[in-house]
């Protein structure tokens, strides 16, 4: 259910999968590849951030836009109820929470359109009576923008340059006029424009092809995939793609249980 939800709603929802049986992180990651569940949006972990006190799997919890628990139970039994709640949260995120002051509501709208600097400026200029509400939203929007910058850095560090380029372009446009976030975007832009990255970009494309084969084809770590991963490590030594390919080769050797 959650994979389908992620596919349908894209970045409007985050799905965090928590492997809660006794498997190592490596076994869990290998399992995800073998099942072809890996995608570019869902996040996976073997650390349980909290318990939902429900026997059996799958189980889960839905956190709202503010991080509070809205529901916990079995996702398969409560599918339509959960989907309604998720859609309601997305609607609220875009329109602004109920009872928001006029300035905060307007700033939230600007932020949702991608105009980050304009939204922050609007909140800084909120009238005295709306300062508390504006300050609360500013803190939240800053945290969300930092998360966007962190995602951009993650794309760069993991050699996902196409996504990094796209996110950078959106971010640069949105933060223009905000000194702090402009500096963060510039740091990322400098990294992406570095000459040394030319080979990294080529290596990333070669790695992406193998990864696609593992996820779209027969799936998993068959001999062909391992051979192609090895070719990436040989052709592009000391690149991030080679490091990722080596990691997958190591995973192929991990016992399934």
């Amino acid at each position: 259910m959650s994979l389908k939800m992620q596919e349908e709603l894209g970045d409007d929802v985050t799905v965090l999968f928590v492997q809660s049986q006794e498997a190592t992180p490596e076994q869990a990651e290998k399992f995800i590849y073998n099942k072809r569940w890996q995608n570019d949006r869902s996040i996976w972990t073997t650390e349980q951030p909290f318990s939902v006190a429900i026997e059996g799997l799958p189980s889960g919890a839905l956190l709202g836009n503010d991080g509070s628990v809205l529901w916990s139970g079995r996702p398969t039994s409560d599918h339509s109820k959960v989907m309604d709640m998720v859609n309601e949260q997305i609607k609220l995120a875009k329109k602004g929470a109920k009872g928001m002051s006029p300035t905060a509501a307007k700033a939230n709208g600007e932020y949702e359109k991608g105009n980050i600097a304009a939204a922050l400026k609007m909140l800084d200029g909120a009238p005295e009576a709306e300062k508390a509400d504006a300050g609360k939203l500013r803190h939240s929007l800053e945290t969300r923008t930092k998360a966007k910058v962190a995602r951009l850095d993650w794309y760069i560090e993991n050699g996902d340059y196409d996504k990094a380029d796209k996110l950078l372009a959106t971010l640069q446009k949105g933060v223009a006029g905000d000194e702090k976030f402009e500096a963060s975007a510039k740091t990322a832009a400098d990294k992406l424009a570095a000459k040394e990255l030319a080979q990294e970009r080529e290596a990333a494309k070669a790695f992406a092809k193998v990864q696609k084969l593992m996820l779209d084809g027969k799936g998993g770590f068959d001999d062909i995939a391992v051979k192609q991963l090895t070719a990436v490590t040989t052709k592009y030594p000391n690149t991030r793609a080679a490091k990722r390919a080596s990691h997958l080769i190591d995973l192929s050797k991990v016992s399934d249980s």
Binding site: V18, Q21, E47, G60, N65, G67
Partner: protein
Amino acid sequence: MRFVWIAAATAAIAAVAPAQQRQGAVKVGDVPAYTFSRPLVNGLGVKSLADLQGRPVMVEYWGVH
């Protein structure tokens, strides 16, 4: 002797304990806080639950067996 055993056991538990212990069972209205101690698979720069605020988060518990 008993004290030595307890001290050794406590030290051993502390050595393997994660950086931040997970919380107990959550209920509706709680705001769970958690910082992950290991990198997440396809982590997208996320280090804690707080990094995910702003949009709904579906946390699904699953198993490999």
